[in-house]
Amino acid sequence: MSRAAKEYKTITKVLKEGDEVYSQLIVGMEPKEDLTRWEALIRGPSGTPYEGCNFRLHLSLPQEYPMSPPYVKFEPYAMPHANVDFRTGEICLDILTKQHWSPAWDLLHVVQAIGQLLDEPVSSSPLNVDIANILKANDMNAYYGLVHYYIKS
């Protein structure tokens, strides 16, 4: 409970003062209604097909947070990525599972990890099989093309 309040303070401070690590990735991040639900807008990392686009993340904190990981999703029908379910926005990331989560991490770490996931998709545990298959075949042209097609449509 007080932990969420502390994170709110840190996050507003970090975003206001401009941190080297996070200002590149995070466009905006703020709580909705109460401190259990958050929305973040992240910038597609450069050197990836996501460059130049912003993506919306929905984060919600379970009651046991930080003992349990936060639930994080992309906006539905907006994120074409090998480890993201396009329809629901669900993300396949090990640190967001109960076994791998550590309470020492906070929401900024989570967003940072998702930023890294955009940079380095893991084709071995796909939620979007089409993109994962293209990545496995190492067909970069098709990969860029498909992602751009999705983003535009």
Partner: protein, 409 residues
Amino acid sequence: MNYNVSDATDFSHTSIPQLSQLDTLVRCHICKDLLKIPVLTPCSHTFCSLCIREYLTREPKCPLCLSELRESNLRSEFLVNEIIESYRSVRDELLESLKEDQRNNAEKSLIELTDDDNDDDLQIVGTNQKEEVKRDKNEKSVGKVTKPSTSTGLNSLLNSQRDKSKTKEKLAQCPICSNFYPIQALERTHLDECLTMQSLDESTDVKKRTPTPPSPRIKSPKSSSKPKRAVNAKDDISHVDKYLSSFNTGQRRERLPKINFTSMSLSQIKQKLASLSLPTHGSRQNMIARYNHYEVLWNSNFCDAIEPVDESELRRQLASWEASHNPSNGNNGTNIISKMMRRANQGNSYQKLLADFKTDNFQRKSWILMFRKDFKNLIQEAKRSIPRESKTTGSVDNQIAVPENTEKE
């Protein structure tokens, strides 16, 4: 309830920004608060006893380095505990005076810039002196707190017994402001004061909240008030004493064991809870959760704490934990955070009402008012479903029973 959210970056705009590193180091990585009853892991990381024990009931690993970790491997750190407690007691003051320093310095540099032409040297000498005096003062203020304690350090071994009887006056935590008071004072006067102060505060302004000025106050670890320096020094003598007398383990008790509930019957579980004088209501799952949390509280208190509190205080903590974690108490499964936010917005507090639910003080009218909408919806929903499906009315009836009773009254 303490609304002052402290943070390591508080120091970044003071005259000694490096202190934010120190402040970060004495914080628990789980709750991000100043360490409370710190314990050391075999991998040399330190956490709050309660935080890490609660986490270890889920995953047997260190949150920082992810190496394997068992509850039995935790060791308490009395020295760190007292370091942090003494830091906690001066932190607010330190922060304030450092901020003031910063402001003064900024003003001085402005003066120096504007008065550049006349009497350069005099000006600089003057400010330098002032600065030194100021620094001296600060050093003294810090010294005051620690010095008397070192001088009495040796005596403490002799006096520890006497001290203990003095400080062992039973303390209990106020569920509202979470400061510690003697039980009697808490029950007689403080609770009422705290509740009324709180509702007053809420109606005025959440941000300008000041801690309640209760009458027989005993040093509280979380207090955000700024006690006078003299008083502070007197209180803080005990940090060194406490550490030196910490070998005295007469108060220690056996740790509570982990219990495998899967093979136990309901009555056996009830017996187990009753033997610890814990409440035995609720479902099997509730009771297991209750025991598990009590075990964490107990072991943290009796194995790690330098000054263990009474069992009854543990039960109180358990009850307040249960009130905030049991979803059946919540409103549509919303959790404590949204409850808290809502309470900050509403003049009429939901939790305050709920606290009196089983007593005569329960305010039915405001309760009905608060949930009028929900009751209405429930009634409508029930009415709609009755004629269509007569079979499923069993569960619906239960829901109606509550609102109708209260409406009649």
